[in-house]
């Protein structure tokens, strides 16, 4: 637009509007960021880990999900001898369960963050020789090998039409990651406004209230300094209740996420597991695989339903075989009887409690 089109007064009004819009935006941004900072949501992860080391406080974010950078930094700070990789099913594995002298860090990520076995491989590859552990314990969840698990589906879809050089093209990635970052940030602002949790109270009490991050402050849940996860003191009663076979049949029929029906194992996931084990061998890391325990009522349904039993049977036979072919040792703890677990040892159908994981550590003590 040629400058001559704009009269002094109009230009002044437009300039005033733009300047004021920018000024108000900066003020709003500072306001939101201050709130997040005071709640401990956006503290530097190094600072979070230092605070946890000093005070033992939990780190539980309410508006962001920064597990990956937090755990990566945690590994580098802890330099553990034993490292746990996997999903939330293995997050109850704690440092206290290991014999004195064995340093441990739980780097498991929520399934929605860690995704699949490639995610574990990337974590391992990003560790320097100085930071690498001597032993890794890998939680091998059934869905990692289910071809209908969304990350497995997405890999196949992406491969079909996006050339690799496009995905790796730096300017495109920069643009997308910035866009994603902004989207997450503004999404968090919206969540804060819509939030009915008492965050204002946490804001006012500030550092007097224990915990880093809103979830830790309100529900007393989050990651401990060893990377393990502490659940709220009062978990949902509905999750811990055992269900009838009919109820499980209905739930599993509707599941399109982790326990989608099927009978074949994902071949691509098998290759990923082989790559992960090869990386361990090449770097001199001992790999221990664990098929995490499942609650009795849930396991019975998986084994009884025709839509799921073939897959689950193949999973329990094939995955340990592939693991041991790759030079690792694999334990099948999926049956709760193998550990003498009851329903009380589970948080929900596929999350065993810390008591159960303490028994698992005792069982594999020889390998450590």
């Amino acid at each position: 637009m040629p400058r001559s089109y704009i009269s002094g007064s109009s230009f002044g009004r437009a300039r005033d509007f733009l300047l004021l819009t920018a000024a108000v935006a900066v003020l709003c941004g500072i306001g939101f960021e201050s709130i997040f900072h005071r709640l401990g949501e956006t503290l530097d992860y190094g600072r979070v880990l230092d605070l946890q080391a000093e005070t033992g406080e939990l780190f539980g974010q309410g508006y962001f999900n920064a597990e990956l950078p937090y755990k990566m930094l945690g590994i580098r700070k802890a330099r553990p001898r034993v490292l746990a990789l996997g999903s939330s099913t293995i997050m109850q594995l704690r440092r206290a369960d290991f014999p004195p002298g064995i340093t441990f860090y739980n780097a498991a990520l929520a399934a929605s963050v860690g995704g699949d076995l490639d995610g574990m491989l990337r974590m391992l590859e990003s560790l320097s020789d100085a930071d690498k552990p001597k032993t890794i314990i890998i939680g091998l969840d059934p869905w990692l090998f289910n071809p209908d698990y969304p990350p497995n589906r997405n890999v196949r879809r992406r491969r079909s039409w996006v050339p690799l050089w496009v995905a790796r093209f730096p300017p495109r990635m920069w643009w997308l990651s910035e866009e994603e970052r902004m989207r997450v940030r503004f999404g968090a602002y919206e969540t804060l406004i819509r939030d009915q949790r008492p965050w204002v109270g946490c804001l006012l009490s500030g550092s007097r209230r224990p915990g880093i991050g809103l979830e830790a402050k309100i529900k007393r849940c989050g990651f401990a300094s060893d990377g393990s996860y502490i659940y709220p003191a009062d978990p949902a009663a509905s999750a811990s209740r055992e269900l009838s076979a009919e109820e499980w049949a209905a739930r599993l029929a509707a599941d399109r996420y982790r326990f989608a029906a099927g009978d074949q194992l994902d071949g691509l996931a098998g290759q990923k597991l082989a790559r992960l084990l090869e990386a361990c061998r090449n770097r001199g890391i001992k790999a221990i695989g664990i098929l995490p325990p499942l609650r009795r009522d849930f396991l019975r349904s998986l084994e009884a339903l025709p839509s799921h039993s073939v897959f689950f049977d193949r999973f329990r036979r094939w995955v340990p075989a592939v693991f041991e072919d790759g030079g690792g040792k694999c334990y099948d703890f999926s049956r709760p009887e193998s550990l003498g677990l009851t329903g009380a040892d589970f948080i929900d159908e596929n999350h065993a409690s810390s008591r159960a994981w303490a028994r698992i550590v005792q069982r594999m003590a020889r390998e450590l």
């Binding site: 637009m1 089109y5 704009i6 009269s7 109009s10 009004r13 437009a14 005033d16 509007f17 004021l20 819009t21 000024a23 108000v24 935006a25 709003c28 939101f32 989207r183 503004f186 999404g187 602002y189 919206e190 406004i193 819509r194 939030d195 009915q196």
Partner: protein, 447 residues
Amino acid sequence: MTFYSHQFFLFAAGAWAAFWLAPARFRWAILLACSYWFCLCLGWRATALLLAVSLASYLLGLSIAGVRESRRFSVLSLGIVADVLARVMVKYVRHGWVAAAGVSFYVFQSLSYLIDIYLERIPAERHLGRFLLYLAFFPKLMQGPIERAEDLLPQCQAAGRFDRGRMIEGVQLVILGLFKKAVIADRLAFLANAVFDKIDGHGGVTLLIGLYAYCLQLYLDFSGYTDVARGVGKLFGIELRENFNQPFLATTVPDFWRRWHMSFTAWLRDYLFTPIMAQLRALGTTAVIIAAMTTFVVCGLWHGAGWGFLIFGALHGVYVSVSLLTLKKRDLFLSRAHIPEAAVLWARRVVTFHLVAAAFVFFRCASLGDAAYFFSHLWSGGNSSIILRTFSPIELGILGLSLLGLGFGRSLRPMLLRYPALFWAVLANAVIFLGIKSDAPFLYFRF
């Protein structure tokens, strides 16, 4: 690509720069290319349908103007049948909702264009490109306003002169429209959806709160869209029609329709209601009833194929018929009763609003069963706790202030004139920081 997406703003900014940098004689072509690109983003089927309807209307328009007097009506009939067929095919024989994007709106424009040529109100447009632009102009493509050829075609022909004041108005309208949509309407949607998406179990007060929320949501969503469309139009030097004029302050149902979706109502009045009245004048009051019922049943069915829309239209037909036939008697009664004018005015507003809201129940409910539940449980208690369960205290503050601000818009004008830049800067930031970011489509998009 919705109006509330960064892709749209990148697209509009690029289109705006290309438009004003291009030589004046090619600006229509830039706008046409941008409009078809916008349509392509909605799907190739939507684009193909738009092009087919446009080409058919263009050729039929030339035919009506060119053929012998005795054949003009046949050609017009062919055009009407073709347009209605396109509309009905998309609406009632669905092949994916994207294909339907905007068809309800540009088919009505096409119909009015052909009828106006037949009635010799306007000449047929000979320039194909400008005619295509008349139907496809992207700000109004998806949800109107339904423009008349006599208003929009001359603007498509004019080169477009850069007007500073119009640009500023355009930006202000865009901000206001997005504020209505993202900050208020999409927020009220949480409350309306909480009630209507699972209506069973709610008591009367809760149902009523949900209905009020839905009425406000629908109004602010649609008028917000119109504001953005008009604002973007102004940025390209094109004036689009106003579509709303404080409809919930209407004192009668006919008055409501003069203030609600005005471009659509004016179309129905000029091309349906008035011609029927003219044909049936001899029948007296029966003519009013037939014209009103026909017009509003068509209005209901225009929104979709369903008993709910049909009842919505029929109910408004009854409202309008009764209102038109009893207005004089009611006025006489009220003047004799010596009731203060202000009380009468507000009583009429409240009654009109509730009549309209009752019809919107059929518009919003997923089934007639849900609508029946609504009316049968209206007196069954309930409470207002759903408001506190749905909104955080901050959101209640935002909604309260926003609705107060909109309600007292005229009172705020002196302050606006004193600090306009600050006012618009705050409103723009409210959209950015307080707007709901989820990709909620505009409600009228599906029509």
